[in-house]
Structure formats: C-alpha cells, structure tokens
Amino acid sequence: MNSTQKAKGAHPVKAGWIGQIADAVFTNLTRICAILVLLIILAMMVSLFIGAWPAFKKFGLSFLVSSEWNPVTEDFGAFVAIYGTLVTSVIAMLIGVPVSFGIAIFITELCPVWLKRPVSTAIELLAAIPSIIYGMWGLFVFAPFFADHIEPWISDNLGQIPLIGELFSGPPLGIGLLTAGIILGIMVIPFMASVFRDLFEVVPPVLKESAYGIGATTWEVIKKIVLPYTKIGVVGGTMLGLGRALGETMAVTFVIGNADRLETSLLMPGNTISSSLANQFTEAVGEMYTSSLIALGLILFFITFVVLSIAKFFLVRLTMREGTRT
C-alpha cells in the first residue's frame, strides 16, 4: 500500500521527464523516417547515375537519339524505348482523359443518388486490379479481337490517308504500340476518374446552384463553373495518370511485342523503357549492356520525376487557390 502511494505520488514527475524524453525520441524517430525517404531517393539517383555512367561515357548524348540496340556488338541507344514509352503513354492519355472525364462528370453531376455509390466503388475496385491481369486480358482477349476485327479496318481505311497513313499501316498482329496504348488507357481510367471525381466534388455547391438558378443547363454549369474551378487540378490529375502510364511494366510487356526496332506504324511492335528493363535485365551480361539498361532506368526516372513534379506543382496551386476563395 505504502509503495503504491509512493509510486502514485512520484508518477506525474516521472511522467514529466520521461514524457519529454519520449516526445523527443518520437519526434526524432519520425524525422528520421521522413529523412530516410529523401535519402533513399537520393541514393537511388546516385546509384543509377554511377551505374549508367559507363554507357553515357561511351555513347554520350547520341545514346538518347540512337535507335540501335544490339547486345552482340554492344551498340546501344535509348531512342526506340523512349519513343515507345512516350507514344504508348500519349495514346493512353488520348483515351483515358476524355473517358475519365465523362465518368467523373456523370458521378458528380448527373448520376441518380442510388447509383452513385455502386459506380464509385466499382471504379475504385478497378484501380486495385494488378497490372498483370490487364496484361493477360490484353494478350488473350483484347489482342485477338483487335487483330481480327479492328486492325484490318484501321489499315484499310486510316492507312490510306496521306501523311498519317504511315502510322496505321501494316499487318494486323494485334500486338504493338497501339494495343499497348489502349490497354494503358484502360488501366489509367479508374485512377484518373477517381481523382477527377474528388476534384469536381470540391466545387462549392453555392456556385453551381447559383448557375442553375439563373437558368444554366447542366452542360453550361460544367463548362463555365466546374471546369474553370478545377482546371489546374484536372491537369495535375492527368499528369498523375500519365506518370502511372509511363512506368507501367507488366501489362505493356505482354502486348507491345518487345522489338527493339523503330517502326513508323503504330500497329507494329515496339518497346518501352520499363518493359526493356523487365525483359533484359536478368540476362544482361557485360558491363556495357548492364550499364545501358541502367541508363534507360535513369532516363525513365527523370521523365517520371519531371511529370510528377509538374503534377504536384499544379495540385499545390489548386489547394492554395481553394484557401483564398472559400
């Protein structure tokens, strides 16, 4: 009894200095965690750079523009992979942005209340499907369908148009840059749609209601109120989707055809940076081969870094503006 009383009496004092120490320890622990992330990113950049150095030293800037990729003669260039990465991502954006936009507008503005929840949940579930599933679906279901029914039409019709015809000619393989772009587009839709939906929901109802009040149609409300209000966020969200499309590996590897040659037609096989890495890294022998692959990785790191920085920049500006308006 006596001892417990003592302990009780001592307790607040003890808790005081122990608490202070614990607090300090905790603060520093969390700080270390945060710094660790920065350090890891820095370490990644440094090690990528060191690994890529032999390739950059040997090929110089021509590494970026050379379309040669020959492991036998050890002559490497990144252009085919960079081209494939950018082209598939652009196709993905051309498909993904309008569709995600439609989904987000439907959910926030037009959807009956009872349907809102199921549709939103379904989209979030789609975003959770592992990318390899998209790849397998693309290879076994989409590519055959695309080769048998869509591509012949594309090369017969679009292929005849002067100038852009070159982009749409070639035998219907079902596998190639266009297929990869479409699969990527489908993959980024759920991701961007949920970002857009969240964005559109931050538009103050007062603004929309006022617009409806003066007789605006739904389309006018979206065009004149919702879009201008969320413009910057939409750009940011698109960039986030683009970042995902740029780095996607497995799904692309399945359907792009993995050919390290430069082809003018989108129906022909190509390669992206990430699928080159996934395919070739394990068997890469010799310093120059490995180093060139690491250099590809560094280029991808750089591209995604820039894209995500732009996205962050726009999103930060949006939140700042939100603060001033409301």
Binding site: L173, A259, N279, T282, E283, V285
Partner: protein, 352 residues
C-alpha cells in the same frame, strides 16, 4: 507480471534464434541452392521433388536465366549456377569455376498455319536463317514451296516470333543460325539476346508459345518440352547431312552422340549443326557451374550427391519431359572431373 511474460518470450525467441543453426549442423546439410537457366528448369524441379521425398534434402532452384545464374555463382550467393551456354575455358579459369553438362535437349521451330499438321512443313537451314533475317516474307514464297511440293501454303505474311528476354535458348538458336548462314553471322551473330532484324518478342518459352498459338502465319522457336505440352506444329529441318529430321528424343540423341566430351577442355561443347543423317540441328546441352575451391565442402558434397543421384536415377523423368539424359560414358568423365577439380580449402578433393 507482464514484464515477466515479455522477458520469457524474449528468452524463448532468442533461444530459438540461436538454437536453429545447432539443429541444422547436427543433422548435416538440409538444403542446397542453385540459380540460372530456365531451359532445364522443368526437369530440375522434378528431380528436386523426387530427391526431397527420398532424402529430405531440399534443392532450391531459381530459374532466373543463365546470365543471372552466372552472376550469382560468381558472387557466391548460391551453391551452384546453371547455364545453357557453356562458358569458355578461359572465363572459367578467371572466375575459378568448373562446369559440367547436366542434361541435353532440343530447340524446336514451331509454326501456326491452318491445316498443316506437325512435321508436315519442311525447311532448309538457309530458309530458317532467311526467314529470321526478314528476307523471306510470305509463306507461299517460291523457295518454301520448292521444299514442300504438294503442300498448300497460304499467301500469308510470315510473322517471326523471338524471345524478348535474354535466354540460353536464344543462344542455342542463334548459334545454329550463325553456323548455317553467313549473312546471319555477319549481320546478327550469336548471343543470349541479339538485335533481331524482324519480328516480335515474347517473354520466356511460354511467351513465344502463346504468341505462335495466337498469330496465324507465325513462326517461333521454343524448347522441346513446350512444343510438346502445347501441341504446337513443329517443322522438319534439313540437317547438315541433307536429310529432313523431326524433333524427337531420337534425333536429339543422334546429335548428342557426336559430341566429343572427352577431348573438350572444360566440357566446352556446342551441339548445334552436327553431322550425321539423324542429327537434329538445334540441339544443346545445359551446364552446371561450381567453384573449384569450396569453402563449405559439406554443402558441395551434398550438391554433387544430388547431381550424381540425378545422373543415375533421373533418366526416366528427364525423358518423360522430352530431355536427353547424359550417356553413361559422359557421367564417368564428369565424375572424374569432380574428383580432380573440386577441392576444399586445404586441397582435399570433395568428391566422393
């Protein structure tokens, strides 16, 4: 009370941690590990499962590809490495490694042409090279028709399928093409990954197999077991002796019989384009790599015991999967090499 419980748990945990190695040491080597070639993976896995049942020793094999296997054995993270392409004797000496052949098999060109059954279509070696060079573009090309009189060939484009990843299978295939075609040797060459002049790339044997099954008019090359399992349409090849042969155990064995294992330093033998009228031209052996000086002789002995068991008792399992087991004469040679080349740090032979 809680503190007591915690300290007991801590003690238990620690004692578990420290006790484990003792148990393992007391009972001898419980697990051996290897990494490398994907080509022999099916048969290694089958052998390992059977061996585990028999002895309780587990063999962990990571089929990460020959290049990865070579890297890992050099780094010493595995007990043995596996490679489909033999290392040159000079490379072996530089790395302090020795190699021996474990299993042989064939690489098989397969096609997807409607109405054509396995073995019906015949190609010469030069045609194979020209198809992969992108020079022959249509199935009804006159040169293909000349080899196949009476066979109705469609006017389809030939879609060339190759491996997208670096691979020992590709090494064997391009080695064959380099031997039979001067143009291929000069333009492309032989390696685990090459700059393909034409076609699309699939990842792994299964990737190539699924592309070929998918695309009408395609031609690809896979390891024999995959052609067998997927019931793909294989082709007959005209070999060096000028006769057409189908890919099967008999023709792989005929090619393998030519190999002069006895007089090849470091077992450096390539089995492509062998003479003999029954020889399948794209045959290859898969190799095991081990360090010449073993820091853990106990583990090395366990590894060699496993391979010895495979040589002697694994023949039927290998044949079931479409591989060619090593002939008895070669096994004797290999085991002699174990005796003379693999030593522990004091210079004592590890085997037997």
């Amino acid at each position: 009370m809680r503190l007591k419980l915690f300290s007991i748990m801590c003690f238990l945990f620690l004692s578990l941690l420290t006790a484990r190695p003792f148990i393992v040491q007391a009972e001898g080597v419980k697990a051996i590990s290897g990494a490398g070639a994907t080509f022999p993976y099916p048969v290694y896995a089958k052998w390992a499962a059977a061996y585990y049942k028999l002895t309780g020793i587990k063999m962990n094999y990571q089929s990460i590809g020959s290049g990865g296997g070579i890297k890992q054995i050099k780094a010493g993270t595995v007990d043995f490495g596996a490679s489909d392409a033999p290392l040159k004797p000079s490379d072996l000496n530089n790395a302090g490694l020795m190699q021996f052949p474990m299993i042989m098999g064939g690489v098989v060109p397969v096609v997807n042409l409607r109405g054509i059954k396995p073995g019906q279509i015949r190609l010469s070696n030069e045609l194979m090279a020209d198809i992969y060079l992108g020079k022959v573009k249509k199935w009804n090309d006159k040169r293909i028709a000349d080899e196949n009189p009476g066979l109705g060939l469609p006017a389809r484009n030939i879609i060339v399928v190759h491996r997208a990843d670096g691979s020992g299978t590709t090494w064997i295939f391009t080695n064959y093409l380099s031997k039979v075609s001067k143009a291929w040797k000069e333009k492309v060459g032989c390696a685990k990954a090459v700059a393909w002049p034409a076609g699309i790339g699939g990842k792994g044997n299964e990737g190539v197999a699924s592309y070929v099954r998918r695309l009408p008019g395609s031609i690809g090359y896979v390891e024999y077991a995959y052609a067998l399992q997927n019931k793909l349409t294989y082709i007959k090849l005209k070999n060096r002796a000028g006769s057409f042969v189908a890919p099967e155990s008999k023709t792989f064995q005929a090619a393998a019989a030519n190999a002069d294992w006895e007089h090849s330093e470091g077992f450096y033998v390539v089995l492509t384009d062998q003479p003999g009228k029954d020889s399948w031209p794209i045959t290859g052996a898969s190799f095991i790599l081990m360090h010449k000086v073993q820091k853990k002789p106990g583990t090395a002995r366990a590894v060699l015991k496993f391979f010895d068991w495979c040589y002697r008792n694994g023949k039927k399992m290998a044949e079931e999967l479409g591989y060619v087991p090593m002939p008895g004469k070669v096994i004797t040679l290999v085991e002699e090499a174990w005796k003379s080349q693999i030593k522990d740090s004091s210079g004592q032979p590890v085997w037997p």
